[in-house]
Amino acid sequence: MKLNASLRSLTALAVASVALSVTLSTSAHAADFNFSGQLVYHNDVVQIDFNLAAAADVRLWTDSWQSGLNFDPQIALFGGGSQLLAQNDDDDTVAPGQGYFDAGLALTQGGGSPLAAGHYRLTLSASANDPVGPTLADGFTLSGQTPVLISAWNQPGYDVNANDQKGGLWQLHLTGVDQAAVVPEPASLALMLAGLLAVGWRARRR
């Protein structure tokens, strides 16, 4: 009896775990990711990795332009081999709350085709800082330029009458993906490494 009871509960667990994975890959609610931060320089590029365990409808969009309060964002999607799959500067039809110059990609049955299972990287940059070539390694059009503060930059497409798009806030939303995380920028990584080294050095002194 006891064994049977244990077996039953094990079976129930197995069923539950299958149900959980199905929920993650099909339900938008279970796998919505919201990221935000500040773009400091005009040629900064935010990178976000995400995974899909199975083919799914995926929506990726910004809602941070806010009628020019913040810079005009654009997004690009790269596949597992870092090849450019899709990019968008302006699409405010992907989700409610977007403004004219917000970006969006709807990779769905209705809006193109669902995204296949795999590993992906999403980039967010200021509008007109476009991916240069077919892969992420090719960089972006403004990559080589001396960084200009977003707050001091007249972004192409800014409103001369309002002197707008001077805010650095970005907000990015992903629905339908399994896992997502912001990839630390090389500069941040270097800082973290430097911090670790410093800690190690202090530990050694002690």
Binding site: D90, D92, Y100, A128, N154, D159, V160, N161
Partner: protein, 563 residues
Amino acid sequence: MGRPNQVKPARTGTSRREFFKRSGAGTVALAAATQLLPQVAAAAVNSVFQHGVASGDPLTDRVILWTRVTPPSAKSAVSVSYVVATDAALAQVVQRGSSKTNPGRDYTVKIDATGLRPGTTYYYQFSAEGATSPVGRTKTIPAGSTQSLRMAVVSCSNHAYGYFNAYARIAERADLDLVMHLGDYLYEYGNGQYGTARATEPTHEIVSLTDYRMRHAQYKRDADSQAMHRQHPMVAIWDDHEIANDSYKTGAQNHQPATEGDWAARVAAGLQAYYEWMPVRPVDTTNLRKNNRFYAYGDLADLIMLEERISARSQQLTAATHATPFGAGFATTDPGYADAGRSPLGSEQEDWLTSRLRSTPARWKMLGQGVMFAQLKAPGANQTTDPGLYFINSDQWDGYEPARNRIYAAIKGDNAHPAVDNVVVLTGDIHSSWAADLNPNPYNPVTAAGGYNKTTGEGSLAVEFVGTSVSSPGVDSDTTGQIAGALRFYNPHFKYINLTRRGYMLLDVNPQRVVSEWWYVDTVASPSNIQTFAVAFEVQHGSNHLVPSAQTPSRANPPLLAP
């Protein structure tokens, strides 16, 4: 004098295409013409850039480039690219760039093209939605030693009242550095309320943002306006009609809060549309009412543009009770006349103006402003019982005497500041032509007491050129000049008055003198190529008073007009 008093009309012809474009029949007419004149029609049909191109507010290194995109269907965002070149064929490209627009800007596009060279003519073109715009021509202002400025000065362009033939004549002049528009670029009235030559869009008086945008769009579809904007950069200020007639900071004669809502909301709507649709660079994006600014045209001239309506102007005097042939006049003893707190400019702008007048190194200080600075009086209606003279227009500087005297004080100088020579006031507003010597009291003939000698010009501290309207009506019944003559009789400081003709002023400036020529079109009731040189006056360096002048020659070998 041996000089021609009439210029032979340019052979631009009145082709079918021209006729259709002017008649506003637009799309339908051109669609019909496509079968007859496929090549011509193909060039003319440009639905994406149907509002033309424009440039303005030139500085030594930058200029505003403007257009408006009409996408085939509504879009949230439209990408626009542009090119700037030094030749009309756009082969010598100096700049390429991109921009965007959206419905929140009414699809208007405004580029502040920087990195340009001083005193240089450029050509530019936009692309969007698979179409290219007409090529525009513009010019930056010079830096340093400068020998010449030649510009057209216009005001009061009323689409409903007639055709912008003056604009078309200005468009044909290849040797202009810029066009100065002194306001009343458009009118707010509804259909038939002020002019019946052309129907207004919308049909009602414009009050909302949608209304103001529609009216601007209508004006920008005018073929003659497009031609002028395409060939010359514009330096524009608004007067009252860009929002509503006889406006002041907190209201306007033609604004009824009970039926038209909050004045501040109307001003905000009017200004938003103005900045969207005009090739102007905002002075202060956090306060669009502030619009005073200056352009240092090398060391030759400062173009000091004033804002006299909605940033600070006190309400016009309302105590005019003295009957004159021009309606109720007001006297120096009337309530409010001597109130030092009343001003068209406000104290901040007065200080700014005074400071620039005193500090500018420029030879000529040219004030571009809306309403007449010179005094204008008319006799009482019954001279037997009332032999006095009365000011007749409380909307002009006469209604703000203490403020005007503060400007005169700055020009006269004091113990701490030398006098300011070579001030030239340029004015629009009143749909008629005037040339005036300026003195705080020109009715006093005793120069030793600060008065003015009309024969010698002694006592004059500065001069004023008032340009007539592009199309708005003057006192058109004065065909014999009798009324103008009477006004000159009572107002000794006017050297010239014409109340009946439409046209523009041509200002030719060099270090020695400023010449103003008045050019008139023959009619605004229909498109016409006829223009006539009427008269010219000039002020010599250091003289501060007017003398008769002659037509100035056109410049040799001006840069090509845009194709």
